[in-house]
């Protein structure tokens, strides 16, 4: 990075955020300020851990109509589209399952706070007993700023970051020759990057055997990774993670450790990375090919898979 480039780092949405502008235009700082505000908007209204947030308010009365900030209406509308397009694999209602497993607070508190193990034990086994009864189709209603989420509490932990990156990217359009927005792994990479031949994006090795599983060269694309490298815990000895399969209400993505997707919309990159993860190892290649998605995945054995659409972006791939 040169001394004239703009770079801002901060913490929001319980994640490390980075904004970088290469060759900034004179009013780039204002654009960065708008991007920071857009991310803050998501953090303020879409968290389910703050009882005063708009989402928490709606979740407490999920059968009723609510007037909500536009970012929450956008999140519900986007999630409804994603739910439909992914045939129900993307489902923000899994937040209730996560809460039943103890993920009803910021993730670091799961490991540090004393919890009622009996409640967890009951919750995990009740959830597993319900595997034969998948949730019905989700049909929330959105009319301007008025929403009705259809009776079930929602979690926007993943898609919220995708929306934050999307809105920050819009705020930064034209701010420089190249722009990077990184929200805890969900990213937007505009322009040719600092070296002029694409942003060099490392894909984390979820198994920790190497620093990166892949290195991609990216221009004007969003990238998102769904991974169980970090958000894993146990409930009375039962290993669980945060990527819940709504068809079974159990930890999803059998055989997969991580999935990365490139998409022109960072919000949809997040939707598809999660959806492909839940597809599981056996079917991910076929589904990615059918959807024409630029996707890469790492199995729990460390094998790296690539869809045809992502191969042109691969600069380097780890060898095991």
């Amino acid at each position: 990075m040169t001394s004239t480039d703009l770079a801002v780092t901060f913490t929001s949405m319980a994640s490390d955020i980075e904004i970088r502008v290469i060759d900034p235009v004179p009013d780039a700082e204002e654009a960065v300020a708008r991007a920071v505000a857009a991310i803050g908007d998501v953090a303020t209204h879409l968290t389910r851990f703050d009882p005063s947030s708009a989402l928490a308010t709606v979740n407490r009365a999920p059968d009723e109509w609510h007037e909500v900030p536009s970012i929450l209406a956008d999140a519900i509308g986007l999630s409804r589209s994603a739910h439909r397009v992914t045939d129900g694999l993307f489902d923000p209602r899994v937040g209730s399952t996560l809460a039943a497993w103890g993920y009803d607070r910021s993730f670091d508190r799961i490991a540090t706070e004393t919890v009622d193990a009996t409640v967890w034990d009951i919750a995990i086994h009740r959830t597993r007993r319900d595997t034969a009864s998948p949730r019905p189709t989700w049909t929330p209603q959105v009319s301007g700023s008025m929403v009705n989420i259809g009776g079930s509490p929602l979690d926007f932990g993943g898609i919220g970051k995708g929306l934050a990156v999307r809105n920050a990217a819009a705020a930064l359009a034209g701010a420089g020759s190249s722009v990077l927005v990184d929200a805890g792994g969900d990213e937007w990479l505009a322009g040719p990057g600092p070296d002029g031949d694409g942003w060099k994006v490392g894909v984390e090795d979820p198994l920790g055997l190497a620093e990166h599983a892949l290195v991609l060269a990216v221009v004007d694309l969003g990238v998102a990774t769904s991974s169980i490298a970090r958000q894993r815990w146990t409930v009375r000895g039962v290993p669980v993670h945060h990527l819940v399969d709504p068809r079974t209400n159990t930890p999803g993505g059998a055989g997969l450790a991580a999935v990365t997707v490139l998409h022109h919309d960072p919000a949809w990159a997040e939707v598809w990375s999660k959806t492909l993860y839940l597809t599981g190892r056996a079917d991910i290649a076929a589904v990615a090919a059918h959807r024409g998605l630029a996707a890469a995945w790492v199995t729990v054995d460390g094998d790296v898979g690539l869809s045809d659409a992502i191969r042109p972006f691969v600069l380097w791939q780890v060898t095991r």
Binding site: S106, K161, G202, H212
Partner: protein
């Protein structure tokens, strides 16, 4: 021409013969002592140390070159010994397989670049009499990145 004139010319010619021999011999002796090849040969140098500063510097360089040559020869001998040891180990089945032989390595563009380098190295080694020890090729390192997409860093 009279007889006396002819006799005088014969005397003069006979006188010039030893003089020419003397001149030739002197020139030959001078040329021998100033022959660069003779001067640079180890034997002559060892036998006739010079007080010429330039020549002394050249002699010092020559000493250094001799020492380096001895080092290189020792290195060649050491590597040959290593090669023999590795071949013996491979024959016993204890040597690790080369990473470049795995299908995954061959599929990687970076690994393909590595394979090209290795091929070139092998050809070069075949042309020379100095054999190189067999070293397992390391996988190509990841290029530097400007950002990393990863699992959520939620705190």
């Amino acid at each position: 021409m009279t007889d006396s004139a002819v006799a005088a010319r014969r005397v003069a010619a006979l006188t010039l013969i030893p003089a020419s021999v003397a001149v030739f011999g002197t020139g030959l002796a001078w040329a021998t002592t100033h022959d660069p090849a003779v001067a640079s040969s180890p034997d002559s140098q060892a036998a006739t140390p010079s007080s010429d500063p330039q020549l002394a510097a050249a002699e010092a360089k020559l000493d250094d070159a001799r020492a380096r040559l001895a080092e290189l020869q020792a290195e060649v001998n050491r590597r040959n010994a290593e090669r023999v040891a590795i071949q013996e180990a491979q024959a016993a089945g204890t040597a690790p397989a080369s990473p470049a032989s795995s299908p995954a390595a061959a599929a990687s563009p970076a690994a393909q670049a590595n394979a090209k380098v290795q091929t070139g190295t092998t050809k070069t080694a075949a042309k020379t009499t100095v054999t190189q020890p067999i070293v397992a090729a390391a996988p190509a390192a990841a290029p530097p990145v400007q950002t990393t997409t990863k699992a959520s860093t939620k705190k």
